[in-house]
Amino acid sequence: MSRVDRQVSSSWTVRTRNRIGRTVPAGQWLPDRQPAYMRSWIYVFGVATLAAFVVVLTSGVALTVKGPTWWHSSSIGHFVNSMHLWSVELFFMFMVVHLWGKFFMAAWRGKRALTWITGAVAFIGSIGTAFTGYLSQSNFDSQWISTQAKDGLNAVVMGAYFNVLDPGQMLLWHIVLLPLVVGFLVVAHVVLVRRHGIVPPFDAVPPGAAPPVSAAAPPNGRAAPMPVTEPAPPAGVGR
């Protein structure tokens, strides 16, 4: 190995670039082709969840501009708060449909367990983020929800560190800590989806491949299906 080669191989930048390339090859970040079996409205709910997440973040950032009590005294502020509320409702609706869809597809198959786990933890993190949002409203709902929720959290230690009766702590968790966690998980989830691609149907066999054990003799005795609706593109496209 030449001196130049040694320098390149020890470069953190080159190593990072290679690592990124190995995680998701360049053509897979934004492919212009998808598997032919991906033909259902259920697939829309993943991207709809992402779109709603963008609206949640944008309306949330707009609320932060003039502070936590602005929306109580300004009609514009109240409208922005309404957008924040309804985008959150849509976000959860899309995410729950997406989650059920992925469950029914057993979308963790084919080394996609981590994709499922990041999605499930993002869902739970989103519940925590929305919950702290309700605690940060500085109105009657915040008073009631916090005084009720403290009992559950205190009963399992968490209340000793996560004080729902402290609106300052809750607001910071809501606008900084939890969005960072959820944002990281969403990015990791999308990267994993792009890395592994869309999970194939049960027992599907790619053209030219030998049928798997479970496809050759499925437990229910039915013949193994194989979708071949369009010819495969040239190598490297949509991979």
Partner: protein, 312 residues
């Protein structure tokens, strides 16, 4: 290759998705259309339905709307019979608190947010008042008394209030109440003036922690009455609802559901049990891919036939 790894290989035979035939698909266009649809939907929902914003109840509001409740609550704090006084961790050592079977989970964190109900919620704010000799004398008498006397005075006064018509302090029959009637009536005056809340929030110029005002307010019955009138009670699926006819947090339906059914609805350890159960169920959700039986369920349910119908 070990025997177990060979079995694992055979179990998950899902091929690489990149080996399958493909079709043209515009991901960016899909996202932009989805974003536009969500923005329009959000705008429409916000314009048509708005969002709830019922004003918070201040301690001053409480004192004006339910003065007898303030006096009764202050008396309970002094007697050690209020929710906060008998709470346990993380506020005090009054009780072991909630448990999951033999595990005293509430105690595990210790007393990290110390609250002495009588001292912190009643006596200390009253001690800040100047120019009221009667109050100063009552506080002095309370501070100098033995614990047993304090409890006896406050308990007797609490019982007398409960028997008085409408819980009115003015209609309480004479008894051995020590300084308690003065202390509780002055706390009501302090609350009605609007000063009590800031005295409870802390001594710092900037405060964001409302633990003590909220504990005092929640120890009374007024807050719960208001919440129940707005279908927010614990047995009314309150944790997931919000004021008015708004959807609230429907994603918390399962958590709230357990509080509506036995044994949770009648258990003294309901919070710990529900949280324990939800933690287990959360782990099940997260680790579905590794749970035998559950991970195979979607194949047998057959819902996937509705999703991949074109490929059959």
């Amino acid at each position: 290759m070990t025997g177990s790894s060979a079995v694992k290989r055979r179990r998950d035979t899902t091929p690489d998705s990149h080996l399958f035939p493909t079709r043209s698909y515009d991901l960016v266009k899909e996202f932009v259309i989805a974003l536009a649809v969500v923005v329009v939907l959000t705008l429409l929902l916000a314009l048509v339905f708005s969002s709830p914003d019922r004003k918070a109840i201040s301690l001053q509001d409480w004192a004006k709307a339910a003065p007898t409740d303030v006096v009764a609550t202050a008396t309970a704090e002094l007697a050690g019979t209020s929710g906060t006084a008998g709470y346990g961790a993380p506020y005090n050592h009054a009780t072991v608190g909630q448990k999951i079977g033999p595990l005293a989970t509430q105690q595990w964190g210790g007393v990290r947010i110390p609250v002495d109900a009588a001292k912190d919620l009643v006596i200390t704010p009253l001690s800040e008042v100047v120019g009221d000799p009667g109050l100063a004398s009552a506080v002095q008498e309370w501070n100098a008394a033995k614990d047993a006397d304090r409890t006896a005075w406050a308990t007797a006064y609490g019982d007398a209030l409960a028997k008085a018509p409408g819980g009115e302090p003015a209609k309480v029959k004479a008894g051995k109440f020590g300084p308690v009637p003065v202390l509780t009536s002055r706390l009501l005056t302090l609350a009605a003036s609007g000063s009590l809340q800031s005295l409870l929030s802390g001594s710092s110029y900037y405060t964001s922690n409302e633990t003590k005002p909220l504990l005092l307010l929640a120890d009374g019955s007024y807050l719960e009455e208001q919440a129940r009138a707005d279908h927010l009670g614990g047995d009314q699926w309150g944790m997931m609802n919000e004021t008015g006819n708004f959807p609230g947090q429907p994603w918390m339906w399962l958590y709230t559901f357990w509080y509506q059914v036995k044994p949770f609805s009648t258990s003294e350890n309901a919070d710990a049990l529900v949280w324990g159960l939800m933690m287990v169920l959360t782990l099940v959700l997260v680790f579905v891919p590794f749970i035998p039986g559950l991970r195979s369920l979607p194949r047998h349910l057959g819902v996937h036939k509705l999703i991949w119908r074109d490929t059959r």
